[in-house]
């Protein structure tokens, strides 16, 4: 079964059309990269898939559930991590995970979910420090743990390593790979072509609200006879 099917998606803000007929499919267990420059429409697509914004026209199905008509069901199987997201600064990391876990489970399951979150975050003793004292890298680890601990079938991660140093970005990518190995489908957006190239099984290049290219990183590089996705993108947009 396909994890996500986006068909002819349009999004209009007043007079401006931010998304102009986007189509792509994410297969189950796949890491799918939505790449493109800032303002291309990536975040808007992700927010619509996450049920945060309405669909102007088109259709989106997450594991067969319609985002427009079955939003409540969709929210039970997805997990969304916004770009530059934060957490409640007065809570400790542990209490934040507990707060979030309370929306999904109770009793022993709840304890197990929090334990899983703490394990993914891997913050050591700092899990009991207030979130307000966390570095950007620690915050990202905590938020990824929050997003993954409820065992979503589709994780939607927006610019997940944006602003992180090399080591933190590397560690976050490792976490994502590890999650995918456990069968979670992942949709990530990024304007970092290098990251997408080494992380994703499949990519869609989006520019000015339209998907301009789609395929595996290798297919796209071969198609344009270049060494990296950055060059693919420049050539694709240039045409």
């Amino acid at each position: 079964m396909d994890a996500l099917v986006v068909k002819d998606l349009h999004k209009i803000y007043g007079e401006r059309e931010a998304v102009k007929g986007v189509n792509f499919t994410v297969k189950e267990g796949e890491i799918f990269g939505l790449i493109g420059p800032n303002g291309a429409g990536k975040t808007t697509c992700l927010r619509i898939i996450s049920t945060l914004l309405s669909i102007s026209s088109g259709e989106i199905k997450v594991y067969g559930k319609d985002v427009k008509t079955e939003a409540d069901d969709v929210r039970k199987i997805i997990s969304y991590l916004p770009e530059d997201a934060g957490a409640y600064k007065d809570l400790t990391g542990r209490k934040y995970l507990q707060f979030m876990a309370n929306f999904f489970t109770e009793g022993e399951e709840n304890k197990a979910m929090v334990a899983k979150g703490i394990e993914i975050a891997d913050l050591g003793d700092r899990i009991d420090s207030k979130v307000g004292t966390y570095s950007k890298g620690m915050m990202r680890r905590l938020l990824i743990a929050r997003a993954i601990m409820p065992n979503p079938r589709l994780a939607i991660l927006d610019e997940v390593t944006s602003g992180l140093d090399v080591v933190n970005a590397y560690e976050i990518r490792e976490i994502i790979r590890n999650i995918a190995k456990h069968g979670v489908s992942i949709l990530i957006s990024s304007h970092n072509m290098f990251e997408v190239e080494i992380l994703c099984d499949h990519v869609a290049m989006i520019n000015e609200g339209r998907v301009v290219l789609e395929g595996t990183p290798k297919e796209l590089k071969d198609q344009y006879g270049v060494n990296n996705l950055e060059e693919v993108f420049v050539k694709a947009v240039g045409q």
């Binding site: 007079e15 049920t51 914004l53 409540d72 934060g86 409640y88 600064k89 979030m100």
Partner: protein, 458 residues
């Protein structure tokens, strides 16, 4: 200098945004309106005051001290280019048959001060002769009808004092002329200076008569409540509104709101959680203030120089009344939070959210000033409608409405506050189901509609 100008321009652009300028303009307009309202109250207070009188004096001859005093007062109005018939109303003795008759007569004539000359007014004064040690004075009684508890409500006391002074001076002058050739001792001079005595006074309040109580005494006893309760309510509303609207700005800035909205939780639950949590916090704040106020009022009421307390005036609140006060507070806080959540939905970040508290502050300040300086009943119909429409007016007026058994205002206020809070919550839930919460802007009308719920399943 160019660098300085560059920085100054940047600061001005950041500080003088359309929303901040609009907020300031609204404040200017509000203060202009309040200035005009308070100004008219002050004008009313400085204008010559009208009063009524009942002359029971049996002496109706040309030497009657009461008639001469009344003529003197008429001249007092004429000297001010005023028609005495528009300010002085004579009532027959029959209006004193019962309290109801007195109150009705005063209400019908639109006066709040009634001066009564005793039947032996002239004969007492006429019986005085220089050298007498036991003297009888011209007795006067005053009755007030207090319908207002604002700052200027004690004005009728001044009216009566002024009139009694005029009567005193009139009689005094006559006496001086009459006995100018006689040798006088200190007692005589004292009598001539004060031949009239205000022997009794009482005030109708809430339909009941209170003997030896003036409107000034009542205002003093109630001033703590009329001045401070509206201030406390305004503070609570602004404080809790500010906390909520800032928290919304923070949630948007940190994107914790986005995370919440993608959880398997209904939007109505998220809205209710925010509203109820904030409302309880607001109610706790309000309750703490109220408890403090209760003891403060209690302490103050025993400390008035006249000995007149709210309890002695029958102006006390029962346990049920306090429950009603808290219900009004809770509903008003819900209304404030509803408005704040609607405004907060349009704020893109913490900074923008903070400027959005201004409309709520203005709405809380208007009824505060109005209840401090005047009363709802004293306002013209248009202003009454405006004050009634502001939800925060009702908790500010509820204590007085309860004390004065103003059932219409209590029930009307309760129904209005409940309806207003329900509408605010409905709009908030609709906003939480729309794009506006994230985009922070109202969509222009297009074929996909406006403010439509994102998802049918919600």
């Amino acid at each position: 200098m160019n660098h300085l100008w560059n920085l100054v321009r940047k600061e001005l652009k950041e500080l003088l945004t359309p929303s901040s300028i609009a907020s300031i303009l609204v404040m200017v307009i509000v203060f202009m309106a309040l200035g005009s309202l308070i100004g008219s109250e002050i004008d009313d207070s400085t204008d010559a005051q009208s009063f009524g009188y009942v002359n029971l004096d049996t002496d109706v001859s040309e030497n009657s001290y009461s008639l001469n005093a009344i003529a003197e007062i008429r001249q007092y109005y004429v000297d001010q280019d005023l028609d005495p018939d528009e300010y002085m109303f004579e009532f027959p003795a029959s209006v004193l048959d019962s309290n109801d008759k007195t109150l009705n007569a005063m209400s019908d004539a639109g006066i709040d001060t009634l001066i009564i000359f005793s039947d032996d007014f002239s004969s007492n004064i006429a019986s005085w002769e220089p050298g007498e040690t036991t003297v009888k004075k011209g007795d006067i009684n005053v009755i007030w009808n207090q319908t207002d508890t604002g700052v200027f409500s004690s004005l009728s006391t001044v009216t009566a004092t002024t009139m009694v002074a005029l009567i005193n001076s009139s009689v005094s002058e006559t006496l001086i002329i009459d006995i100018s050739s006689s040798p006088l001792d200190e007692t005589d001079v004292a009598y001539i200076n004060n031949p009239v005595s205000l022997v009794g006074y009482s005030t109708f309040l809430n339909g009941e008569v209170h003997d030896n109580v003036t409107p000034t005494d009542i205002y003093s006893a109630m001033s703590t409540q009329t001045m401070f309760v509206p201030i406390i309510i305004m503070l609570v509303i602004i404080m809790i509104g500010s906390i909520l609207i800032s928290s919304m700005g923070n949630e948007k800035e940190n994107k914790t709101l986005e995370t919440l909205l993608t959880l398997p939780v209904k939007r109505t639950t998220i809205v209710s959680g925010k509203l109820v949590g904030s409302a309880i916090a607001g109610l706790i704040m309000g309750a703490l203030y109220m408890v403090g106020m209760y003891f403060y009022i209690d302490g103050m009421s025993g400390a008035t120089s006249t000995g007149v307390t709210m309890a002695s005036l029958g102006l006390t609140l029962s346990t049920l009344d306090w429950v009603i006060v808290m219900v009004f507070m809770f509903l008003a806080i819900l209304c404030a939070l509803g408005i704040c959540m609607i405004l907060g939905a349009f704020a893109k970040n913490y900074k923008a959210a903070q400027t959005y508290i201004m409309p709520v502050s203005v709405l809380a300040m208007i009824p505060m000033f109005v209840t401090m300086f005047t009363s709802f009943d004293a306002l013209p119909a248009v202003l009454q409608a405006a004050i009634f429409a502001i939800p925060f007016s009702h908790p500010m007026m509820i204590m007085q409405n309860l004390m004065f058994n103003n059932t219409t205002m209590i029930i009307g206020g309760l129904v209005y506050l409940t309806a207003f809070a329900a509408v605010m919550i409905y709009i908030t839930v609709r906003l939480y189901k729309s794009d506006i919460l994230l985009t922070g802007m109202m969509k222009k009308k297009h074929r996909f509609g406006t403010l439509s719920p994102r998802n049918k399943s919600e």
